[in-house]
Amino acid sequence: MQERISSREWLERTRTSGDVDAILALVPYAQRIGVSAMIEPQGRLYRLAPQQDNIGNVLLPALHGGVVAAFMETAASLELMLVARAVRLPKVIDFSIDYLRTANLVPTLARCTVLREGRRMANVQVCAWQDDATKPIAMARLHLLLAEPPDVDSDAIASHA
């Protein structure tokens, strides 16, 4: 039986091991656009691979703004899955992005800051840059619902219902 991202047990185990790749393996669109994560001394960094398929403007060429948005949204969700005080399943409620500079066809990095984590809702800010961390290409903010993940048992019951 396939494991569920949404189950409390799976989330708990993944948080303990810090295994972002295990989560990303279950997120097809994140794989398609080439999202990965790495641990740095100052925290977790997310990376968007400079793939031809991510181009949105052939004349410059530049990355698709919507792909950059999808990358930053993915980063915020992953970050909350891993660092929220309790085991929670983040669901994006709203998302806003300011495009600050052209996103060239080079690796894009992002760092997340959880500005507020309440009991039900979190606010996360995401900063993305390319060659120079002091020159962001985009800034994003999100509200995410911190949903209570179902236990494996209740999942099993639901899937048999």
């Binding site: 279950l26 698709h64 703004g65 992005i97």
Partner: protein, 173 residues
């Protein structure tokens, strides 16, 4: 709110062909098979065919939220072109997306965007995505900066309407 007047007199068919060319030149949307269903200035309607790569959680069969941002960005960016007297290069200033309900696996995504207001320096757009009519999954608003004819490459409109081959040849960069 006054609906912007569109002085351009091109036919719906030529607009549809132009927008189709536009989304097919973009590698990401070409790869996903994004299809232009209708262009009735100032509104653009598109369909993103269902594909497993659109999933954000394959164990729960839900569409990735980022797919909706990507589609809204594309829809709004396309609507900009048909809202101007003459197509101009207009970078996206910002985009805001509200997620109303989850997108479900196995169903195409339908979306439309329309020009709300054009000023000397800005184009304001709003868009919406749904799978079942009347049940919106996400709504987006995006603002675009007009760079004006001076910063728009000569032949931009001609390329868009297939009157020259320049956009197509840009693909080979």
């Amino acid at each position: 709110m006054a609906i912007p007047t569109i002085p351009d007199e091109r036919s719906a068919d030529s607009w549809k062909a132009a927008m189709t060319r536009f989304v097919q030149v973009i590698p990401h949307t070409r790869g996903l098979g994004l299809e232009v269903l209708d262009v009735t200035p100032p509104t653009v309607t598109m369909r993103l065919p269902w594909h497993r790569d659109l999933l954000g959680d394959e164990t729960r069969d839900l569409v990735h939220g980022g797919v909706l941002s990507m589609m809204l960005d594309t829809l709004c960016g396309s609507a900009v072109l048909c809202g101007l007297p003459v197509p101009e290069v207009c970078p996206t200033l910002d985009l805001r997306v509200d997620h109303y309900r989850p997108g479900l696996a196995g169903h195409d995504l339908l979306g439309e965007a329309r020009v709300v207001r054009v000023t000397e320096s800005m184009v304001f757009i709003e868009g919406c995505i749904w799978q079942r009519e009347g049940l919106p999954i996400a709504r987006g608003i995006a603002n675009f900066v007009r760079l004006g004819p001076r910063n728009t490459p000569a032949g931009f409109a001609a390329a868009l309407f297939g009157e020259k081959d320049s956009l197509e040849s840009g693909r080979e960069i």
